[in-house]
Amino acid sequence: MKRILVIEDDARFQGVLQEMLGRAGYEVLVAPDGKVGVGLYRDKHPDLVITDVIMPEKDGAEVIFDLQKEFPGVKMIVMTGGGQGDAQTYLKSIMMYSDVKYAFEKPFSMDQLFLAIEETLG
């Protein structure tokens, strides 16, 4: 069973994702912020990380660059609720300078997410 780490500070959305991914047959780990998320990754080595961008402690961009540095080849999907200036440019910049292939703007479609997960996991 593939293991997915969800890093999301909004408890409700975190729960929805957990439920959704669980129903689809993934083992789901959750973290409320980037710091806890990176720690959890080190412990459990999940197959995929889905991370929010704007979060307390450590934001999504930092999570991505830290993990990428520590664990080359780490698989990640990024999602954001927008805000903080130009969300599109921001996501684009992140994608330009990292290995992240998929970025989603909330509220996104479940089907698209599953497609991206399958694609990323290979």
């Binding site: 909004d10 409700r12 959305f13 729960g15 929805v16 994702l17 439920e19 959704m20 129903r23 704007i54 961009a61 930092e62 660059f65 999602m79 609720g81 927008g82 805000g83 903080q84 200036g85 130009d86 969300a87 599109q88 440019t89 921001y90 910049s93 992140i94 330009m96 300078y97 703007e105 909330k106 509220p107 996104f108 479609s109 479940m110 089907d111």
Partner: protein, 671 residues
């Protein structure tokens, strides 16, 4: 002598017989009447003499126990003025001499007397006494006139002392000179002091040329000129002229000299009054210099300065003519003052009346500053700040008038106000944007949950059921809501703009103004923007963002440093070398924007990474680390290049190149 007026004679003789004989002798005298009295003893004689009622006294030498000499001495001592004749016996020659020495008028030897002899002796004695009295009176007169003379002499002496004192006390140096040598014959204290000598004596050894430099201010020999001056004074009675003198210590000083011809001790001499005019000359020179300086200041000033005398312009400087667009001062001065202002001032007052009122206020208060509308030769009206100050010029009160052109100031004030409005607007938009961002973010996350839940529900219901159709409509509604939050974000989001030919100097200028207005602490900013720069294919907002961002970085680099930011924009030609060094640049014309600061600079490691996203040297919360990467993206979008030079501790220079609109690079690289 009148015969009817008898001479009173007192005879002192202790022998009555002798008296009788003498009386007999008197009666024989025809020419003169005598009235005789006789006393016989010493005491009665003295008493009678004390009454002083006789013209002549005859004393016998023998007077009982006393002698006629005793009586004679006593009588004269008592102040007897009448002549006394002593009668002696024959052969008393010693007594006769004694008597004469003691003051007797004559002596007569008894027995040898006769009437004629007696008469003559008495008359001689009287005559002698008269002469004696006359002599005494003359002597008295002489003594009196001698005393008067002495008194007069004292007065003269006193007045001489007085005049000498005056002479010495005079603050002017006064000397006398006498021919033929024309050396000084006297000099007062002031002279001695003025020339630095110790005493008058020392000074009077000199002649005028000895206390002068070799040559006078006009080059003439002092000795020759002095003689000429003396001659002139002697011919004309007086002469006044300027003269250079020398003090004992060699110091030369300017003076005025007044020669006056005087007569002293029967000799024609000259009196000279010498006045040191160093101070007044210096004062005069200072005055001349000060006036020259004043005129220099007036004419070299960049401010318009006018001198107003009785409501007309006495003088103006070139700056005044320039300010009102007159070709020169002369034309300005010939222009009627009514043409220099509009008919009415902005407050509706008649310009002529108001001008007079302003001058009056200035005169009363000593200074007056106010705003005035003036009219240029071109007819254009413009605001001026006028400062009026009454000053004394050549002993007359005139008004010094200073004009300051307020056009630029007023424009700048308006622009500043405009800018502040813009800034306020920008800040307002920013806060709305921040709020919208926050709302949109939270809203999108909630929508995300709803969508997730709805889509999970969809998987649980049969595809053609009514619930399925309802849930699908819910998803559509969620997408509509997402669109709405997207619209809310338009406030803050940079919408992709099409590139168009833009005069970026204007954009750069505006961005600079906005940046300057946003600075919390002022730093020195220099701008060197080529306003003739050809257009660039650009998105104005993005260019503005580049300028703002780079300036903000420069500003932060100056934190705590007294430094400077220089912004320049110019056109450059990229040559082959440059094009090879920077692959993003092609040969051709570019606009180059340079932002240079004298701030803390950075090391080469930092410099390598600055364009990486999320790289920041700033504290958490102070920067996203995205600024320069966004700028980099923008520059790339504009087919430009950005280069950085930096030295730790010295500063940073960022060069941004944008190809000009007519540069082929825009076509070859495509959008």
């Amino acid at each position: 002598m009148d015969k009817g007026d008898p001479l009173k004679i007192l005879i002192v003789d202790d022998d009555e017989e002798d008296y009788m004989i003498i009386r007999e002798l008197f009666s024989e005298i025809k020419e003169q009447n005598y009235s005789l009295d006789w006393v016989s003893d010493y005491d009665s004689a003295l008493e009678t003499i004390g009454r002083n009622s006789h013209n002549v006294y005859l004393f016998d030498y023998r007077l009982g126990g006393r002698s006629g000499l005793d009586l004679l001495r006593k009588a004269i001592n008592n102040g007897c003025k009448a002549p006394i004749i002593l009668l002696t016996g024959q052969g008393d020659h010693d007594i006769d001499l004694k008597a004469m020495k003691m003051g007797a008028a004559d002596y007569l030897v008894k027995g040898e007397m006769n009437a004629a002899f007696l008469d003559r002796s008495i008359r001689y004695a009287l005559e002698h006494k008269k002469m004696e009295n006359k002599l005494r009176m003359m002597l008295q007169d002489l003594q009196k006139s001698h005393e008067e003379f002495k008194k007069a002499e004292e007065v003269i002496l006193k007045s001489e002392v007085k005049y000498r004192t005056l002479f010495d006390l005079s603050r002017d140096a006064i000397v006398t000179l006498a021919p033929p040598s024309w050396k000084f014959t006297s000099a007062n204290l002031s002279t001695v002091k003025l020339f630095g000598y110790d005493s008058e004596k020392e000074f009077t050894l000199k002649g005028p040329w000895d206390v002068s430099p070799e040559r006078q201010f006009d080059g003439e020999l002092s000795s020759r000129k002095a003689k000429r001056m003396i001659e002139k004074a002697m011919n004309e009675g007086s002469h006044f002229f300027e003269w250079d003198h020398t003090r004992l210590n060699g110091e030369v000083f300017p003076a005025t000299v007044l020669f006056s011809k005087i007569e002293l001790d029967g000799k024609q001499q000259l009196q000279a009054t010498v006045r040191d005019i160093t101070q007044s000359k210096r004062t005069q020179e200072d005055l001349e210099q000060s006036e020259k300086r004043f005129m220099d200041v007036l004419h070299s000033s960049e401010d318009a300065i006018l001198l107003i005398d009785d409501e007309t312009f006495m003088d103006i400087n070139e700056a005044t003519a320039r300010m009102l667009k007159y070709p020169n001062r002369e034309e300005f001065l010939m222009t009627h003052s009514s043409k220099l202002s509009p008919l009415h001032q902005p407050d509706g007052q008649d310009s002529f009346d108001k001008a007079n009122e302003m001058m009056k206020i200035a005169t009363e208060r000593g200074f007056h500053r106010f705003e005035w509308m003036h009219r240029k030769k071109t007819g254009e009206d413009f605001p001026v700040e006028v400062s009026l100050t009454p000053i004394t010029y050549r002993g007359k009160t005139i008004i010094h008038c200073l004009w300051r052109d307020l056009t630029e100031e007023k424009k700048a004030a308006e622009e500043k106000q405009q800018l502040q409005l813009q800034l306020q607007q920008a800040q307002k938009l920013e806060s709305i944007g921040t709020m919208a961002n926050g709302i949109a973010h939270n809203f999108n996350t909630i929508l995300g949950s709803i969508r997730g839940l709805v889509e999970m529900g969809l998987m649980e219901v049969p595809p053609n059921s009514r619930i399925n159709s309802d849930l699908k409509k819910a998803v559509k509604a969620i997408e509509a809501a997402k669109e709405l939050t997207g619209k809310m974000l338009i406030f803050s989001r940079d919408q992709k703009q099409a590139l168009e030919p833009v005069k970026i100097q204007t954009v750069v200028q505006e961005a600079m103004d906005l940046f300057k207005a946003s600075m919390t602490a002022p730093v020195e900013i220099r701008q060197n923007i080529n306003m003739e720069c050809e257009p660039v294919l650009a998105a104005p907002n993005e260019i503005s963002q580049v300028v703002m961002n780079l300036c903000t970085n420069a500003y932060h680099a100056l934190e705590g440093i007294n430094g400077r930011i220089t912004i320049s924009l110019d056109e450059v030609e990229i040559d082959e070398g440059m094009a090879r060094r920077y692959p993003n640049l092609c040969m051709g014309k570019y606009a180059r924007l340079v932002i240079c600061d004298t701030g803390k600079g950075m090391n080469s490691v930092t410099k390598e990474r600055i364009f990486e996203p999320f790289f920041t040297t700033k504290e958490i919360g102070k920067g996203t680390g995205l600024g320069l990467s966004v700028i980099h993206g923008i520059v790339m979008n504009h087919h430009g290049e950005i280069t950085v030079d930096s030295q730790l501790g010295k500063g940073t220079t960022v060069n941004v190149y944008f190809p000009l609109a007519d540069n082929d690079v825009n076509n070859t690289k495509g959008a």
